[in-house]
Amino acid sequence: MAVMTYREALNMALREEMRRDGRVFVIGEEVGLYEGAYKVTQGLLKEFGPRRVVDTPICESGFTGVGIGAAMVGLRPVVEMMTFNFAIIALDQIVNTAAKLHYMSGGQFNVPIVIRGPGGPAAQLAAQHSQSMETYFYHVPGLKVVRPTTPMDAKGLLKSSIRDDNPVIFIESETLYPVKGEVPEDPDFVIPLGKAVVRREGKDVTVIAYMGMMYRAMEVAEDLAKEGLSVELVDPRTLRPMDTETIIGSVRKTHRLVVVEAGAGFAGMGSEIASFVTEQAFDDLDAPVERVTGANAPMPYARNLEKLKTPSKDKIAAAVRRVCGANGG
Protein backbone atom coordinates (compact mmCIF):
# COMPACT_ATOMS: atom_id res chain seq x y z
CA MET A 1 0.00 0.00 0.00
CA ALA A 2 1.07 3.52 -0.76
CA VAL A 3 -0.68 6.76 0.10
CA MET A 4 -1.46 8.78 -3.00
CA THR A 5 -4.04 11.09 -4.49
CA TYR A 6 -7.04 9.96 -6.47
CA ARG A 7 -5.40 11.60 -9.50
CA GLU A 8 -2.18 9.64 -8.99
CA ALA A 9 -4.12 6.43 -8.56
CA LEU A 10 -5.81 6.94 -11.93
CA ASN A 11 -2.48 7.75 -13.52
CA MET A 12 -1.01 4.59 -12.05
CA ALA A 13 -3.87 2.50 -13.42
CA LEU A 14 -3.43 3.93 -16.92
CA ARG A 15 0.32 3.43 -16.82
CA GLU A 16 0.09 -0.16 -15.60
CA GLU A 17 -2.53 -1.13 -18.15
CA MET A 18 -0.61 0.51 -21.00
CA ARG A 19 2.51 -1.39 -19.94
CA ARG A 20 0.57 -4.63 -19.68
CA ASP A 21 -1.24 -4.41 -23.02
CA GLY A 22 0.14 -2.73 -26.14
CA ARG A 23 -3.35 -2.33 -27.55
CA VAL A 24 -4.35 0.10 -24.81
CA PHE A 25 -4.00 3.73 -25.85
CA VAL A 26 -5.20 7.10 -24.58
CA ILE A 27 -6.94 9.64 -26.77
CA GLY A 28 -8.57 13.00 -26.08
CA GLU A 29 -8.09 16.72 -25.76
CA GLU A 30 -4.86 17.83 -24.05
CA VAL A 31 -3.95 14.33 -22.88
CA GLY A 32 -0.42 14.37 -24.28
CA LEU A 33 1.65 17.49 -24.54
CA TYR A 34 -0.41 19.34 -21.95
CA GLU A 35 -0.47 16.20 -19.75
CA GLY A 36 -4.21 16.34 -19.14
CA ALA A 37 -6.49 19.24 -18.25
CA TYR A 38 -6.51 17.77 -14.72
CA LYS A 39 -3.12 16.07 -15.07
CA VAL A 40 -4.48 12.55 -14.89
CA THR A 41 -2.39 11.59 -17.93
CA GLN A 42 0.76 13.23 -16.60
CA GLY A 43 3.94 11.65 -17.93
CA LEU A 44 2.17 9.23 -20.27
CA LEU A 45 3.31 10.92 -23.47
CA LYS A 46 6.88 10.77 -22.23
CA GLU A 47 6.69 7.07 -21.43
CA PHE A 48 4.53 5.84 -24.31
CA GLY A 49 4.96 8.36 -27.12
CA PRO A 50 2.44 10.01 -29.44
CA ARG A 51 1.32 6.73 -31.03
CA ARG A 52 -0.30 5.68 -27.75
CA VAL A 53 -1.12 9.07 -26.27
CA VAL A 54 -3.11 10.84 -28.95
CA ASP A 55 -3.91 14.53 -28.66
CA THR A 56 -7.07 15.53 -30.49
CA PRO A 57 -8.62 18.81 -31.48
CA ILE A 58 -11.94 19.77 -29.86
CA CYS A 59 -14.38 17.35 -31.51
CA GLU A 60 -15.96 15.06 -28.92
CA SER A 61 -18.14 13.04 -31.26
CA GLY A 62 -15.30 12.82 -33.77
CA PHE A 63 -12.67 11.46 -31.41
CA THR A 64 -15.13 9.26 -29.54
CA GLY A 65 -16.11 7.77 -32.89
CA VAL A 66 -12.42 7.29 -33.68
CA GLY A 67 -12.08 5.37 -30.42
CA ILE A 68 -15.07 3.20 -31.25
CA GLY A 69 -13.80 2.47 -34.76
CA ALA A 70 -10.37 1.54 -33.42
CA ALA A 71 -11.99 -0.67 -30.78
CA MET A 72 -14.03 -2.48 -33.44
CA VAL A 73 -10.85 -3.70 -35.08
CA GLY A 74 -8.89 -4.69 -32.00
CA LEU A 75 -7.51 -1.73 -30.06
CA ARG A 76 -8.51 -0.82 -26.50
CA PRO A 77 -8.93 2.95 -26.37
CA VAL A 78 -9.25 5.01 -23.22
CA VAL A 79 -11.03 8.16 -24.34
CA GLU A 80 -10.63 11.12 -22.04
CA MET A 81 -13.44 13.63 -21.80
CA MET A 82 -11.90 16.83 -20.52
CA THR A 83 -15.04 16.87 -18.40
CA PHE A 84 -18.18 14.80 -18.79
CA ASN A 85 -20.18 17.90 -19.52
CA PHE A 86 -18.72 17.63 -23.02
CA ALA A 87 -19.47 13.93 -23.35
CA ILE A 88 -23.05 14.65 -24.29
CA ILE A 89 -21.76 16.04 -27.57
CA ALA A 90 -20.65 12.47 -28.17
CA LEU A 91 -23.84 10.98 -26.72
CA ASP A 92 -24.91 9.66 -30.11
CA GLN A 93 -21.61 7.84 -30.59
CA ILE A 94 -21.79 6.41 -27.08
CA VAL A 95 -25.47 5.45 -27.06
CA ASN A 96 -26.15 4.56 -30.68
CA THR A 97 -22.82 3.06 -31.63
CA ALA A 98 -20.62 1.98 -28.71
CA ALA A 99 -23.45 0.56 -26.62
CA LYS A 100 -25.21 -1.24 -29.48
CA LEU A 101 -22.58 -2.56 -31.89
CA HIS A 102 -22.11 -5.83 -30.09
CA TYR A 103 -25.82 -6.51 -30.01
CA MET A 104 -26.84 -5.30 -33.44
CA SER A 105 -23.98 -7.08 -35.18
CA GLY A 106 -25.16 -10.34 -33.65
CA GLY A 107 -22.04 -10.50 -31.48
CA GLN A 108 -19.57 -10.11 -34.37
CA PHE A 109 -18.04 -6.87 -33.12
CA ASN A 110 -17.49 -5.62 -29.61
CA VAL A 111 -16.28 -2.26 -28.39
CA PRO A 112 -13.73 -2.47 -25.58
CA ILE A 113 -13.62 1.26 -24.89
CA VAL A 114 -13.38 3.27 -21.68
CA ILE A 115 -14.73 6.80 -21.73
CA ARG A 116 -13.41 8.57 -18.68
CA GLY A 117 -13.10 12.03 -17.17
CA PRO A 118 -14.40 14.15 -14.32
CA GLY A 119 -18.08 14.90 -13.78
CA GLY A 120 -20.55 15.86 -11.10
CA PRO A 121 -20.70 19.02 -8.99
CA ALA A 122 -17.44 20.97 -9.09
CA ALA A 123 -16.44 24.04 -7.12
CA GLN A 124 -18.23 27.10 -8.52
CA LEU A 125 -17.91 26.00 -12.12
CA ALA A 126 -21.55 26.98 -12.72
CA ALA A 127 -24.35 25.57 -14.83
CA GLN A 128 -22.53 24.11 -17.83
CA HIS A 129 -19.46 22.71 -16.05
CA SER A 130 -20.93 21.37 -12.85
CA GLN A 131 -23.59 18.68 -13.04
CA SER A 132 -24.18 14.98 -12.53
CA MET A 133 -24.01 13.15 -15.84
CA GLU A 134 -24.38 9.49 -14.89
CA THR A 135 -28.14 9.42 -15.48
CA TYR A 136 -27.59 10.01 -19.20
CA PHE A 137 -25.62 6.79 -19.44
CA TYR A 138 -26.87 4.21 -16.96
CA HIS A 139 -30.24 4.08 -18.62
CA VAL A 140 -28.70 2.64 -21.78
CA PRO A 141 -28.52 -1.14 -22.25
CA GLY A 142 -24.98 -2.02 -23.26
CA LEU A 143 -23.17 0.54 -21.11
CA LYS A 144 -21.46 -0.02 -17.79
CA VAL A 145 -21.21 3.04 -15.56
CA VAL A 146 -18.59 3.45 -12.83
CA ARG A 147 -18.30 6.17 -10.17
CA PRO A 148 -15.21 5.59 -8.05
CA THR A 149 -15.25 7.31 -4.67
CA THR A 150 -11.77 6.61 -3.27
CA PRO A 151 -8.24 6.52 -4.70
CA MET A 152 -8.17 2.74 -4.25
CA ASP A 153 -11.43 2.36 -6.14
CA ALA A 154 -10.22 4.75 -8.80
CA LYS A 155 -7.25 2.51 -9.51
CA GLY A 156 -8.91 -0.88 -9.14
CA LEU A 157 -12.03 0.00 -11.07
CA LEU A 158 -10.23 1.80 -13.90
CA LYS A 159 -8.06 -1.25 -14.44
CA SER A 160 -11.13 -3.50 -14.57
CA SER A 161 -12.81 -1.08 -16.94
CA ILE A 162 -9.86 -1.14 -19.33
CA ARG A 163 -9.82 -4.94 -19.22
CA ASP A 164 -13.56 -5.15 -19.89
CA ASP A 165 -14.51 -6.15 -23.44
CA ASN A 166 -17.43 -3.74 -23.65
CA PRO A 167 -17.92 0.01 -23.26
CA VAL A 168 -17.47 1.47 -19.80
CA ILE A 169 -18.39 5.02 -18.77
CA PHE A 170 -16.02 6.00 -15.97
CA ILE A 171 -16.92 9.29 -14.29
CA GLU A 172 -14.37 10.76 -11.89
CA SER A 173 -14.67 14.07 -10.02
CA GLU A 174 -12.79 17.35 -10.14
CA THR A 175 -13.23 17.78 -6.40
CA LEU A 176 -11.87 14.31 -5.58
CA TYR A 177 -8.65 14.49 -7.65
CA PRO A 178 -6.58 15.84 -4.70
CA VAL A 179 -8.11 13.44 -2.13
CA LYS A 180 -5.51 11.08 -0.65
CA GLY A 181 -5.90 7.46 0.31
CA GLU A 182 -4.21 4.08 0.47
CA VAL A 183 -3.69 2.37 -2.86
CA PRO A 184 -2.21 -1.08 -3.54
CA GLU A 185 0.87 -0.86 -5.74
CA ASP A 186 0.41 -4.38 -7.01
CA PRO A 187 -0.14 -4.19 -10.80
CA ASP A 188 -2.48 -7.17 -10.55
CA PHE A 189 -4.79 -5.39 -8.11
CA VAL A 190 -8.22 -4.87 -9.63
CA ILE A 191 -11.72 -4.30 -8.25
CA PRO A 192 -14.41 -6.15 -10.18
CA LEU A 193 -17.14 -4.09 -11.82
CA GLY A 194 -20.64 -4.52 -10.41
CA LYS A 195 -19.58 -4.91 -6.77
CA ALA A 196 -20.74 -2.48 -4.10
CA VAL A 197 -18.85 -1.96 -0.87
CA VAL A 198 -20.08 -1.42 2.68
CA ARG A 199 -17.99 1.54 3.85
CA ARG A 200 -19.33 1.64 7.38
CA GLU A 201 -21.22 -1.04 9.22
CA GLY A 202 -24.38 -0.04 11.07
CA LYS A 203 -27.65 -1.51 12.23
CA ASP A 204 -30.35 1.19 12.26
CA VAL A 205 -30.44 2.56 8.73
CA THR A 206 -28.75 2.04 5.35
CA VAL A 207 -27.50 5.12 3.55
CA ILE A 208 -26.42 4.76 -0.08
CA ALA A 209 -24.08 7.37 -1.50
CA TYR A 210 -21.11 7.71 -3.82
CA MET A 211 -18.43 10.22 -4.78
CA GLY A 212 -18.52 13.51 -2.82
CA MET A 213 -21.85 12.55 -1.30
CA MET A 214 -20.24 9.49 0.30
CA TYR A 215 -17.70 11.66 2.13
CA ARG A 216 -20.53 13.91 3.28
CA ALA A 217 -22.69 10.99 4.37
CA MET A 218 -19.73 9.57 6.30
CA GLU A 219 -19.48 12.77 8.35
CA VAL A 220 -23.22 12.62 8.98
CA ALA A 221 -22.91 9.02 10.13
CA GLU A 222 -20.16 9.95 12.60
CA ASP A 223 -22.28 12.82 13.93
CA LEU A 224 -25.38 10.68 14.28
CA ALA A 225 -23.44 7.97 16.09
CA LYS A 226 -23.13 10.47 18.93
CA GLU A 227 -26.95 10.57 19.05
CA GLY A 228 -27.00 6.81 19.21
CA LEU A 229 -28.02 6.19 15.61
CA SER A 230 -26.06 3.48 13.86
CA VAL A 231 -25.75 4.18 10.12
CA GLU A 232 -24.61 1.61 7.56
CA LEU A 233 -23.03 3.22 4.50
CA VAL A 234 -23.10 1.45 1.14
CA ASP A 235 -21.22 2.71 -1.91
CA PRO A 236 -22.46 1.08 -5.14
CA ARG A 237 -19.20 2.01 -6.99
CA THR A 238 -20.61 0.61 -10.24
CA LEU A 239 -24.02 2.10 -11.02
CA ARG A 240 -24.60 -0.26 -13.92
CA PRO A 241 -24.61 -3.16 -13.42
CA MET A 242 -25.87 -2.32 -9.93
CA ASP A 243 -24.97 -4.67 -7.09
CA THR A 244 -28.55 -5.10 -5.93
CA GLU A 245 -27.57 -8.04 -3.76
CA THR A 246 -25.38 -6.02 -1.40
CA ILE A 247 -27.96 -3.25 -1.16
CA ILE A 248 -30.86 -5.61 -0.51
CA GLY A 249 -28.72 -7.47 2.03
CA SER A 250 -28.06 -4.25 3.91
CA VAL A 251 -31.74 -3.23 3.84
CA ARG A 252 -32.77 -6.62 5.18
CA LYS A 253 -30.46 -5.93 8.10
CA THR A 254 -31.37 -2.29 8.89
CA HIS A 255 -34.94 -2.14 7.52
CA ARG A 256 -34.52 1.51 6.62
CA LEU A 257 -33.04 3.20 3.57
CA VAL A 258 -31.91 6.67 2.51
CA VAL A 259 -30.36 7.30 -0.92
CA VAL A 260 -28.22 10.40 -1.40
CA GLU A 261 -27.38 11.72 -4.85
CA ALA A 262 -25.94 15.00 -6.04
CA GLY A 263 -27.98 15.22 -9.23
CA ALA A 264 -31.57 16.39 -9.56
CA GLY A 265 -33.76 13.60 -8.27
CA PHE A 266 -36.29 13.01 -11.01
CA ALA A 267 -35.75 9.53 -12.46
CA GLY A 268 -32.38 9.52 -10.71
CA MET A 269 -30.33 6.86 -8.95
CA GLY A 270 -32.55 7.13 -5.87
CA SER A 271 -35.66 6.42 -7.92
CA GLU A 272 -34.12 3.27 -9.33
CA ILE A 273 -32.80 2.01 -5.99
CA ALA A 274 -36.09 2.80 -4.24
CA SER A 275 -38.01 0.87 -6.85
CA PHE A 276 -35.92 -2.31 -6.81
CA VAL A 277 -35.75 -2.30 -3.02
CA THR A 278 -39.54 -1.94 -2.93
CA GLU A 279 -39.92 -4.74 -5.46
CA GLN A 280 -37.50 -7.13 -3.80
CA ALA A 281 -37.60 -6.27 -0.09
CA PHE A 282 -40.87 -4.48 0.60
CA ASP A 283 -41.66 -6.59 3.63
CA ASP A 284 -38.28 -5.78 5.13
CA LEU A 285 -38.85 -2.02 5.10
CA ASP A 286 -39.99 -0.39 8.31
CA ALA A 287 -40.24 3.04 6.72
CA PRO A 288 -40.65 4.54 3.25
CA VAL A 289 -37.39 4.95 1.34
CA GLU A 290 -36.15 8.55 1.45
CA ARG A 291 -34.19 10.30 -1.27
CA VAL A 292 -31.91 13.26 -0.67
CA THR A 293 -31.15 14.79 -4.04
CA GLY A 294 -29.88 17.93 -5.67
CA ALA A 295 -32.43 20.66 -6.27
CA ASN A 296 -34.33 20.71 -9.53
CA ALA A 297 -32.32 23.57 -11.01
CA PRO A 298 -29.14 24.11 -13.02
CA MET A 299 -26.03 24.57 -10.87
CA PRO A 300 -25.79 28.21 -9.76
CA TYR A 301 -22.45 29.99 -9.58
CA ALA A 302 -22.63 31.90 -6.28
CA ARG A 303 -21.18 29.88 -3.40
CA ASN A 304 -24.23 30.26 -1.16
CA LEU A 305 -26.61 29.25 -3.96
CA GLU A 306 -24.39 26.34 -4.94
CA LYS A 307 -24.67 25.05 -1.36
CA LEU A 308 -28.44 25.16 -1.61
CA LYS A 309 -28.42 23.17 -4.83
CA THR A 310 -26.48 20.13 -3.52
CA PRO A 311 -27.54 17.84 -0.65
CA SER A 312 -26.13 19.29 2.57
CA LYS A 313 -25.12 17.40 5.71
CA ASP A 314 -28.19 18.85 7.43
CA LYS A 315 -30.54 17.54 4.77
CA ILE A 316 -28.94 14.09 4.86
CA ALA A 317 -29.11 13.99 8.67
CA ALA A 318 -32.72 15.14 8.67
CA ALA A 319 -33.70 12.39 6.23
CA VAL A 320 -31.93 9.75 8.31
CA ARG A 321 -33.69 10.93 11.47
CA ARG A 322 -37.07 10.96 9.73
CA VAL A 323 -36.60 7.43 8.44
CA CYS A 324 -35.47 6.22 11.87
CA GLY A 325 -38.29 8.03 13.62
CA ALA A 326 -40.87 6.44 11.42
CA ASN A 327 -42.03 3.18 12.86
CA GLY A 328 -43.56 0.59 10.62
CA GLY A 329 -43.50 -1.81 13.59
Binding site: G65, V73, G106, F109
Partner: protein, 300 residues
Amino acid sequence: MAKTVAQQKAIPGPGLDPQLARRLLGTMLLIRRFEEKAAEAYTLGKIGGFLHLYIGEEAVAAGATSALRPDDYAISAYREHGHCLAKGADPRRMMAELFGRRDGLSKGKGGSMHLFDRSVNFLGGHAIVGAHLPLAAGVGLAIKYDGRDQVVVCYFGDGAVAQGEFHESLNLAALWKLPVIYLCENNRYAMGTSTERALAQTEIWKFGQTYGIASERVDGMDVDGDLEVRPDVRDRVRAGGRHGRSCRARRRRPGGRPGARRSDAVAHRGGHLPVPRPLDARPRGSGLPDQGGSRAREAA
Protein backbone atom coordinates in the same frame (compact mmCIF):
# COMPACT_ATOMS: atom_id res chain seq x y z
CA MET B 1 -15.34 19.06 -64.41
CA ALA B 2 -12.35 19.53 -62.17
CA LYS B 3 -10.32 16.50 -61.34
CA THR B 4 -7.24 16.43 -59.27
CA VAL B 5 -6.20 12.83 -59.24
CA ALA B 6 -7.94 11.73 -62.40
CA GLN B 7 -5.40 13.55 -64.48
CA GLN B 8 -2.83 10.92 -63.63
CA LYS B 9 -5.24 8.19 -64.54
CA ALA B 10 -3.79 4.70 -64.49
CA ILE B 11 -6.45 2.77 -66.35
CA PRO B 12 -8.23 4.59 -69.13
CA GLY B 13 -11.93 3.75 -69.18
CA PRO B 14 -12.34 1.93 -72.48
CA GLY B 15 -9.30 -0.20 -71.78
CA LEU B 16 -10.97 -2.03 -68.93
CA ASP B 17 -9.73 -5.58 -68.70
CA PRO B 18 -12.55 -7.88 -69.95
CA GLN B 19 -12.12 -10.21 -67.00
CA LEU B 20 -12.52 -7.34 -64.54
CA ALA B 21 -15.42 -6.06 -66.61
CA ARG B 22 -17.14 -9.40 -66.25
CA ARG B 23 -16.53 -9.40 -62.51
CA LEU B 24 -17.95 -5.89 -62.17
CA LEU B 25 -21.03 -6.79 -64.16
CA GLY B 26 -21.48 -9.92 -62.05
CA THR B 27 -21.35 -7.91 -58.84
CA MET B 28 -23.77 -5.32 -60.16
CA LEU B 29 -26.21 -7.96 -61.32
CA LEU B 30 -25.99 -9.76 -58.00
CA ILE B 31 -26.84 -6.52 -56.19
CA ARG B 32 -29.65 -5.70 -58.60
CA ARG B 33 -31.25 -9.14 -58.31
CA PHE B 34 -30.83 -9.17 -54.54
CA GLU B 35 -32.52 -5.80 -54.22
CA GLU B 36 -35.37 -6.77 -56.52
CA LYS B 37 -36.02 -9.83 -54.39
CA ALA B 38 -35.80 -7.79 -51.22
CA ALA B 39 -38.28 -5.26 -52.63
CA GLU B 40 -40.65 -8.08 -53.45
CA ALA B 41 -40.41 -9.54 -49.95
CA TYR B 42 -40.91 -6.08 -48.47
CA THR B 43 -44.09 -5.63 -50.46
CA LEU B 44 -45.28 -9.00 -49.20
CA GLY B 45 -44.60 -7.87 -45.64
CA LYS B 46 -41.86 -10.44 -45.07
CA ILE B 47 -39.30 -7.74 -44.43
CA GLY B 48 -40.22 -5.11 -41.88
CA GLY B 49 -39.02 -1.68 -40.82
CA PHE B 50 -37.09 0.44 -43.29
CA LEU B 51 -35.64 -1.08 -46.43
CA HIS B 52 -33.25 1.27 -48.21
CA LEU B 53 -32.56 -0.15 -51.65
CA TYR B 54 -29.37 0.34 -53.58
CA ILE B 55 -30.86 -0.08 -57.04
CA GLY B 56 -29.33 2.41 -59.44
CA GLU B 57 -26.09 2.78 -57.51
CA GLU B 58 -24.63 -0.70 -58.03
CA ALA B 59 -21.72 0.56 -60.09
CA VAL B 60 -20.29 2.50 -57.15
CA ALA B 61 -19.97 -0.48 -54.81
CA ALA B 62 -18.82 -2.80 -57.60
CA GLY B 63 -16.24 -0.36 -58.86
CA ALA B 64 -14.89 0.71 -55.50
CA THR B 65 -14.65 -2.81 -54.10
CA SER B 66 -12.89 -4.11 -57.21
CA ALA B 67 -9.73 -2.30 -56.19
CA LEU B 68 -9.79 -3.39 -52.56
CA ARG B 69 -7.96 -6.36 -51.14
CA PRO B 70 -10.07 -8.89 -49.27
CA ASP B 71 -8.48 -7.78 -45.98
CA ASP B 72 -9.29 -4.11 -46.58
CA TYR B 73 -12.23 -2.76 -44.61
CA ALA B 74 -15.50 -1.24 -45.78
CA ILE B 75 -18.00 0.65 -43.66
CA SER B 76 -21.26 2.22 -44.70
CA ALA B 77 -24.49 3.92 -43.72
CA TYR B 78 -27.94 2.34 -43.82
CA ARG B 79 -28.19 1.93 -47.62
CA GLU B 80 -25.50 -0.71 -47.43
CA HIS B 81 -26.81 -3.91 -49.03
CA GLY B 82 -24.72 -3.28 -52.15
CA HIS B 83 -21.54 -2.54 -50.25
CA CYS B 84 -21.95 -5.65 -48.14
CA LEU B 85 -22.61 -7.88 -51.15
CA ALA B 86 -19.73 -6.38 -53.12
CA LYS B 87 -17.39 -6.98 -50.18
CA GLY B 88 -18.23 -10.65 -50.44
CA ALA B 89 -20.86 -11.39 -47.82
CA ASP B 90 -23.06 -14.42 -48.33
CA PRO B 91 -26.30 -13.17 -49.98
CA ARG B 92 -28.30 -15.92 -48.27
CA ARG B 93 -27.23 -14.84 -44.81
CA MET B 94 -27.90 -11.24 -45.80
CA MET B 95 -31.40 -12.03 -46.96
CA ALA B 96 -31.94 -14.11 -43.81
CA GLU B 97 -31.02 -11.00 -41.84
CA LEU B 98 -33.59 -8.92 -43.68
CA PHE B 99 -36.14 -11.60 -42.80
CA GLY B 100 -35.15 -11.29 -39.14
CA ARG B 101 -33.91 -14.85 -38.93
CA ARG B 102 -31.36 -16.24 -36.50
CA ASP B 103 -29.21 -17.48 -39.40
CA GLY B 104 -28.93 -13.90 -40.61
CA LEU B 105 -25.57 -12.13 -40.55
CA SER B 106 -26.49 -10.34 -37.33
CA LYS B 107 -28.73 -13.14 -36.01
CA GLY B 108 -31.80 -11.09 -36.88
CA LYS B 109 -30.85 -8.40 -34.39
CA GLY B 110 -29.67 -5.82 -36.91
CA GLY B 111 -31.92 -5.95 -39.96
CA SER B 112 -31.51 -4.14 -43.26
CA MET B 113 -29.72 -1.11 -41.83
CA HIS B 114 -27.29 -3.05 -39.63
CA LEU B 115 -25.59 -5.64 -41.80
CA PHE B 116 -22.16 -6.66 -40.50
CA ASP B 117 -19.85 -9.38 -41.73
CA ARG B 118 -16.66 -9.79 -39.83
CA SER B 119 -15.45 -12.58 -42.12
CA VAL B 120 -15.13 -10.13 -45.04
CA ASN B 121 -14.18 -7.06 -42.95
CA PHE B 122 -17.50 -5.37 -43.58
CA LEU B 123 -18.01 -3.10 -40.59
CA GLY B 124 -21.71 -2.22 -41.02
CA GLY B 125 -24.47 -1.00 -41.37
CA HIS B 126 -24.90 2.41 -39.47
CA ALA B 127 -28.18 4.27 -39.50
CA ILE B 128 -27.40 7.61 -37.90
CA VAL B 129 -26.48 9.89 -40.77
CA GLY B 130 -22.82 10.90 -40.47
CA ALA B 131 -22.02 8.85 -37.39
CA HIS B 132 -19.93 6.17 -39.08
CA LEU B 133 -17.49 8.63 -40.63
CA PRO B 134 -15.48 8.99 -37.40
CA LEU B 135 -15.50 5.19 -37.03
CA ALA B 136 -13.75 4.92 -40.39
CA ALA B 137 -11.08 7.31 -39.13
CA GLY B 138 -10.75 5.09 -36.06
CA VAL B 139 -10.28 2.01 -38.21
CA GLY B 140 -7.66 3.97 -40.14
CA LEU B 141 -5.98 4.90 -36.88
CA ALA B 142 -5.88 1.24 -35.82
CA ILE B 143 -4.38 0.20 -39.16
CA LYS B 144 -1.68 2.82 -38.75
CA TYR B 145 -1.20 1.97 -35.06
CA ASP B 146 -0.40 -1.61 -36.01
CA GLY B 147 1.72 -0.62 -38.99
CA ARG B 148 -0.48 -2.65 -41.35
CA ASP B 149 -1.04 -1.70 -44.98
CA GLN B 150 -4.79 -2.08 -45.30
CA VAL B 151 -7.19 0.69 -46.23
CA VAL B 152 -10.75 1.40 -45.19
CA VAL B 153 -13.35 2.68 -47.61
CA CYS B 154 -16.18 4.65 -46.04
CA TYR B 155 -19.37 5.07 -48.08
CA PHE B 156 -21.80 7.84 -47.17
CA GLY B 157 -24.60 9.82 -48.76
CA ASP B 158 -24.76 13.47 -49.68
CA GLY B 159 -26.98 13.92 -46.63
CA ALA B 160 -24.02 13.28 -44.31
CA VAL B 161 -22.07 16.20 -45.73
CA ALA B 162 -24.05 18.75 -43.73
CA GLN B 163 -23.33 16.90 -40.48
CA GLY B 164 -20.54 18.05 -38.18
CA GLU B 165 -19.07 14.56 -38.04
CA PHE B 166 -18.31 14.67 -41.77
CA HIS B 167 -16.08 17.67 -41.18
CA GLU B 168 -14.60 16.34 -37.94
CA SER B 169 -13.71 13.08 -39.66
CA LEU B 170 -12.14 14.62 -42.73
CA ASN B 171 -10.12 16.91 -40.50
CA LEU B 172 -8.85 14.07 -38.29
CA ALA B 173 -8.16 11.71 -41.19
CA ALA B 174 -6.15 14.42 -42.95
CA LEU B 175 -4.44 15.67 -39.80
CA TRP B 176 -3.27 12.18 -38.83
CA LYS B 177 -2.72 10.92 -42.39
CA LEU B 178 -5.01 7.93 -41.97
CA PRO B 179 -5.53 5.32 -44.71
CA VAL B 180 -9.19 6.11 -45.33
CA ILE B 181 -11.05 6.54 -48.60
CA TYR B 182 -14.14 8.66 -47.99
CA LEU B 183 -16.56 7.88 -50.79
CA CYS B 184 -19.67 10.02 -51.09
CA GLU B 185 -22.55 8.55 -53.05
CA ASN B 186 -24.14 11.75 -54.17
CA ASN B 187 -27.56 10.90 -55.48
CA ARG B 188 -28.45 14.55 -54.99
CA TYR B 189 -31.13 13.84 -52.45
CA ALA B 190 -31.35 13.21 -48.74
CA MET B 191 -34.94 12.02 -48.47
CA GLY B 192 -36.80 14.96 -50.00
CA THR B 193 -34.03 17.52 -49.69
CA SER B 194 -31.88 18.19 -52.73
CA THR B 195 -28.23 19.07 -52.30
CA GLU B 196 -29.08 22.52 -53.66
CA ARG B 197 -31.33 23.09 -50.68
CA ALA B 198 -28.94 21.49 -48.18
CA LEU B 199 -25.41 22.49 -49.06
CA ALA B 200 -23.82 25.88 -49.62
CA GLN B 201 -21.21 24.00 -51.65
CA THR B 202 -22.82 21.29 -53.77
CA GLU B 203 -19.50 20.24 -55.30
CA ILE B 204 -18.95 17.80 -52.48
CA TRP B 205 -15.48 16.71 -53.53
CA LYS B 206 -14.29 20.24 -52.86
CA PHE B 207 -14.76 19.73 -49.12
CA GLY B 208 -12.08 17.07 -49.29
CA GLN B 209 -9.70 19.50 -50.92
CA THR B 210 -10.36 22.01 -48.17
CA TYR B 211 -9.00 19.51 -45.68
CA GLY B 212 -6.00 18.76 -47.85
CA ILE B 213 -7.39 15.42 -48.99
CA ALA B 214 -6.80 14.56 -52.63
CA SER B 215 -10.36 14.51 -53.94
CA GLU B 216 -12.17 14.03 -57.16
CA ARG B 217 -15.61 13.94 -58.64
CA VAL B 218 -16.46 10.90 -60.69
CA ASP B 219 -19.49 9.64 -62.57
CA GLY B 220 -21.21 7.06 -60.43
CA MET B 221 -22.76 5.47 -63.48
CA ASP B 222 -19.57 4.99 -65.42
CA VAL B 223 -18.30 1.72 -64.16
CA ASP B 224 -15.52 1.33 -66.70
CA GLY B 225 -14.38 4.88 -66.61
CA ASP B 226 -13.68 6.59 -63.37
CA LEU B 227 -15.48 4.54 -60.95
CA GLU B 228 -13.33 1.80 -59.64
CA VAL B 229 -10.95 2.98 -56.99
CA ARG B 230 -7.95 2.93 -59.21
CA PRO B 231 -4.91 1.03 -58.02
CA ASP B 232 -2.86 4.22 -57.95
CA VAL B 233 -5.31 5.83 -55.55
CA ARG B 234 -5.53 2.77 -53.38
CA ASP B 235 -1.77 2.39 -53.23
CA ARG B 236 -1.30 5.99 -52.33
CA VAL B 237 -3.83 5.66 -49.52
CA ARG B 238 -2.17 2.47 -48.38
CA ALA B 239 1.11 4.31 -48.24
CA GLY B 240 -0.32 6.74 -45.75
CA GLY B 241 -2.58 9.00 -47.75
CA ARG B 242 -6.29 9.42 -47.59
CA HIS B 243 -8.70 10.04 -50.35
CA GLY B 244 -12.05 11.56 -50.96
CA ARG B 245 -14.35 10.99 -53.87
CA SER B 246 -17.82 12.05 -54.67
CA CYS B 247 -19.74 9.77 -57.00
CA ARG B 248 -22.77 11.06 -58.78
CA ALA B 249 -25.28 8.28 -58.66
CA ARG B 250 -28.93 7.75 -59.36
CA ARG B 251 -31.23 5.91 -57.10
CA ARG B 252 -34.32 4.56 -58.76
CA ARG B 253 -36.48 3.35 -55.93
CA PRO B 254 -38.12 5.64 -53.44
CA GLY B 255 -37.00 5.55 -49.84
CA GLY B 256 -37.66 2.32 -48.06
CA ARG B 257 -40.15 3.39 -45.50
CA PRO B 258 -43.76 2.46 -45.31
CA GLY B 259 -45.67 4.93 -47.43
CA ALA B 260 -42.59 6.48 -49.00
CA ARG B 261 -43.51 8.24 -52.20
CA ARG B 262 -41.51 8.36 -55.34
CA SER B 263 -41.16 12.08 -55.49
CA ASP B 264 -41.09 13.58 -58.98
CA ALA B 265 -37.53 14.61 -58.48
CA VAL B 266 -36.42 11.11 -57.64
CA ALA B 267 -38.57 9.44 -60.24
CA HIS B 268 -37.11 10.91 -63.37
CA ARG B 269 -33.59 9.94 -62.46
CA GLY B 270 -32.07 6.80 -63.86
CA GLY B 271 -31.88 3.29 -62.52
CA HIS B 272 -30.21 1.51 -65.40
CA LEU B 273 -27.32 -0.76 -64.80
CA PRO B 274 -24.22 0.65 -66.44
CA VAL B 275 -22.69 -2.06 -68.58
CA PRO B 276 -18.91 -2.03 -68.73
CA ARG B 277 -17.96 -1.12 -72.30
CA PRO B 278 -15.98 -4.25 -73.12
CA LEU B 279 -19.15 -6.23 -72.42
CA ASP B 280 -21.55 -3.88 -74.04
CA ALA B 281 -22.47 -6.33 -76.77
CA ARG B 282 -25.33 -7.07 -74.41
CA PRO B 283 -25.86 -10.82 -74.63
CA ARG B 284 -29.19 -11.81 -76.03
CA GLY B 285 -31.92 -12.41 -73.52
CA SER B 286 -29.87 -10.82 -70.76
CA GLY B 287 -32.70 -8.43 -70.03
CA LEU B 288 -30.24 -5.65 -69.54
CA PRO B 289 -31.43 -2.15 -70.18
CA ASP B 290 -29.99 -0.63 -73.29
CA GLN B 291 -28.54 2.55 -71.89
CA GLY B 292 -24.89 1.98 -71.24
CA GLY B 293 -22.37 3.84 -69.21
CA SER B 294 -21.73 6.45 -71.80
CA ARG B 295 -25.27 7.76 -71.65
CA ALA B 296 -25.12 7.92 -67.97
CA ARG B 297 -21.88 9.83 -68.09
CA GLU B 298 -23.49 12.62 -70.08
CA ALA B 299 -26.26 12.92 -67.61
CA ALA B 300 -23.99 13.43 -64.66
